[in-house]
């Protein structure tokens, strides 16, 4: 039998994270943090780090496999892989590529990782600082449309117009992340409670995004170890089986100057059905969700496109009561996520999804069987992933 799927064939068996810092606050170079995360993930898995024989990352990760393997004296690796595209679109995709490498026999133990020190190289929230711009940016930067917030606000504005979405729906996403961060000592915004009033009075970055609708910029690194389901059962941690993963984009989403034919989308419309088809489950089966918050409005659209809510029902569905662990109908971003734990480009959402499977989250949901992640809405391509306590 050679069913063409990775369903249940691999698992995440180790997670590692450095301390998370506000941008510019880490005492360590970016690469050193990357090494630390890889070492911690291997230690967590109970695997000698020298057994790592594959590497997967995304968003033009600067800490390359060759440099890591050299620094750690890794005797051999047989898989090195970069998920195309910027932003966090490749978070789940990198794990999926790791799983595919294991399933296909290219490697036995693959690390998916991301290291990021904003300020040591550049910052995502700053516009182009060059004198001239060419290509896509020539059609937007001279008009002051430069940053990710500005690029995505335009799509979110249109979605909110089309479906009558109110600002309070976005606010609920932000308040949920901040509330969950208050129980998470790792979170950069631990101790910084957010209320309706603070949100409403916060300055606009670009309408419809207030300050608290926007992710942070942080320093840190995170890594997860993927190996076969068979090996996973022999290791010290409870396996988080990779039930399904999907990535991609659809018709002309990369068009310059905001010309995607289907415009008000987070780019998951063709990815989500493939994800659930591979998993053999539906959105109602998901016990807990980590949904990448570059900006709250993008979370909203990606959740709609994964079928958690009808587009015209957002105002009723997007409430903090629905999203709060442990009792909400769909606990969301239970570590605080990109908004309030750390903007580790969504890899911290994957480690949290694993903790929910293990039962070790700071905001643990009871009886989790299905733990889902969506990565990097609005960019091209995007990815998402479903983890499970059992491989079938």
């Amino acid at each position: 039998m050679s069913e063409r799927t990775i369903r249940g064939k691999t698992a995440i068996v180790g997670i590692g994270e450095t301390t998370y810092y506000k941008h510019g606050q880490t005492p360590d170079p970016e690469f050193k943090m990357g090494l630390e995360a890889v070492l911690l993930a291997a230690e967590d898995a109970g695997i000698d780090v020298r057994e790592i024989d594959g590497f997967a990352s995304y968003s033009n990760e600067r800490s390359t496999p060759e440099r890591i393997a050299t620094a750690l004296g890794i005797p051999h690796y047989g898989f090195s892989n970069m998920f195309w595209g910027g932003g966090g679109g490749g978070g789940s995709g990198a794990v999926a590529n790791a799983a595919a490498a294991v399933a296909a026999g290219y490697a036995e133990v693959v690390v998916a990782y991301r290291s990021l020190a904003q300020g040591q190289f550049s910052r995502f929230g700053q516009g182009a600082q060059t004198s001239h711009v060419t290509g896509e940016m020539a059609f937007s930067a001279p008009y002051g449309l430069m940053s990710p917030a500005q690029r995505f606000a335009m799509r979110v504005q249109r979605f909110m117009h089309d479906h009558g979405v109110k600002q309070e729906a976005l606010r609920a996403i932000s308040l949920t992340s901040y509330a969950h961060a208050q129980n998470n000592p790792r979170a950069v915004m631990h101790g910084r409670d957010l209320t309706d009033e603070i949100y409403d009075n916060s300055r606009w970055i670009v309408e419809p995004f207030h300050l608290f609708d926007c992710c942070m910029e942080n320093d840190g690194a995170a890594a997860v170890i993927v190996t076969s389901a068979e090996r996973a059962r022999t290791l010290k941690q409870k396996p988080a089986y990779i039930l399904a993963a999907a990535q991609g984009s659809f018709l002309r989403q990369g068009s310059w100057a905001h010309n995607a034919p289907d415009y008000a989308t987070s780019n998951f419309k063709t990815v989500a059905p493939k994800l659930f088809e591979m998993a053999g489950i539906g959105p109602k089966d998901v016990d807990v969700l980590q949904s990448y918050e570059n900006f709250t409005g993008c979370v909203l659209i990606s959740m709609v496109e994964h079928g958690f809510c009808e587009p015209d029902e957002c105002n009723d569905f997007f409430t903090i009561e629905n999203f709060r662990a442990p009792d909400g109908i769909l606990p969301l971003n239970t570590s605080g996520g990109n908004l309030a734990e750390c903007y580790m480009h969504g890899l911290e959402l994957i480690t949290e999804a694993v903790r929910q499977i293990r039962g070790t989250s700071p905001n643990q949901v009871s009886d989790v069987e299905i733990s889902m992640v969506t990565s990097g809405p609005m960019v091209q391509p995007v990815s998402s992933m479903i983890l499970a306590t059992e491989p079938v």
Partner: protein
């Protein structure tokens, strides 16, 4: 500088230039003549924007830039309050509009809304007309395509 005062945004933002492979050159050249061009396939007559080397619809290489009436309707908009470039620090807030051109296959163009206080509310669907904003302060001149509500023109 009197020209500065008429511009939607201050001097100092990046200057648009054609791609190194030439894409976009005809468009930017035409803006100097205050003409709005959109790419169109000579074979299947499909419109497309931004510029490409091939027609995405029929895969013809035979593409032209065709003049279009410089009018459209607001498809989406955003009011920017946080500067992500030093040139914008004293220009806040400003309005960016995404304008749909029904006469050119509903392609869209990004520009600033000019001719009114940026804090005045606007609506998706409002009609706009292009305003060609000449910049000659950098030696090599260029022209931006801005938009004004039709009722203001």
């Amino acid at each position: 500088m009197t020209t500065e005062q008429q511009n939607a945004l201050p001097h100092g933002l990046p200057i648009p230039a054609p791609s190194v492979d030439g894409l976009g050159a005809e468009f930017w050249d035409a803006t100097r003549r205050h003409e709005l061009l959109v790419q169109r396939c000579n074979d299947c007559r499909n419109w497309q924007w931004g510029p490409e080397h091939i027609c995405h619809h029929c895969h013809s290489w035979d593409l032209a830039y065709e003049p279009v009436e410089p009018t459209g309707a607001i498809y989406s908009w955003e009011r920017v309050w946080h500067p992500v470039h030093p040139a914008l620090v004293n220009a806040l807030p400003y309005m960016v509009v995404l304008v749909e051109l029904p006469q050119a296959g509903n392609v869209r163009m990004v520009g600033n809304l000019v001719g009114q206080d940026p804090e005045i509310p606007i609506e998706i669907g409002q009609n706009v007309e292009a305003v060609f904003e000449d910049h000659d302060e950098d030696g090599k001149g260029y022209t931006l395509v801005q938009w004004m509500l039709s009722e203001k023109v």
